[in-house]
Symmetry: C2
Subunit: 155 residues, 2 copies
């Protein structure tokens, strides 16, 4: 007995393929501008923003992973890559001998402070400025619904 498949109708297709196309083009564009202008990837940007914007001078990986919503493995790999580039320093955690702390380096601070205005400008030009206030509210509402649904599946 084959279950009936409900394929997507035109309106559903328009939303879904629209999302997929926007995602591909937008991510490529933002990554390209960030890399070309400042030699940073989006993950680099996220890590450095966290380290630069908060008062804490050091973060342990565990807390960073939660804050960034990254897997521990991903964070470990990425921190290792960034450390070899001199963007940050790894230090042994003082309160837990298993842990590793991360601190932003002078080069990392220079990089993020140079890149931040340009990246915000990219987001503004390619996203915010293309949409009305209503669009922005709609997008926030839509993404909130789907995000909430997906988070509820993991509990």
């Amino acid at each position: 007995m084959v279950e009936q498949v409900r394929w997507l109708d035109d309106a559903e297709q328009a939303a879904w393929t629209g999302y997929r196309q926007m995602k591909r083009l937008l991510d490529a564009r933002l990554a390209a501008e960030l890399t070309a202008g400042f030699g940073l990837s989006e993950p680099d940007y996220d890590v450095l923003s966290l380290l630069n914007d908060t008062d804490a001078t050091r973060w342990c990986l565990k807390d960073m992973a939660v804050r960034l919503h990254w897997s521990p493995s991903r964070l470990s790999h990425h921190i290792a890559r960034m450390a070899t580039r001199g963007l940050l320093d790894r230090l042994p955690c003082e309160t837990d001998a298993r842990g590793t702390d991360v601190a932003i380096s002078a080069a990392g601070r220079r990089a993020i402070e140079l890149a931040a205005p340009g990246h915000v400008d990219s987001v503004r030009r390619h996203v915010i400025d293309q949409l009305t206030a209503t669009d922005l509210a709609d997008l926030a509402r839509i993404t909130r619904k789907i995000t909430a649904h997906l988070r509820s599946l993991d509990t």
Copy 2:
């Protein structure tokens, strides 16, 4: 002279971070269900869908790349990987000795016909069913605006 940076206000932040979070969670979820259920990745799915849904028994890489909006390099890499898994066959193009044609294999056809209903169901459960008809129209409109803007930059 430092230019003034217009950081994102709350409404803009809500839309932008909402999009980024949804993207990460949604992509991870859909990829996981597709892989776990059918051993296909999303790129696999896109390629096989194209080969299976159209009347043409073979496609040349060039045309596929345009149709999928993929870079030639990406397509070449991916076709190579899929060919080693037996999902499709590579044939010399008959009208252009430089070209390569691709045809779906029996295994590839089985895979896509098995996976398609499940994948559509994933999309329906995690996206379509979470949104109202208004949401879907809003999403289509928003993505169309941004996609059109980004495409206009490449011309």
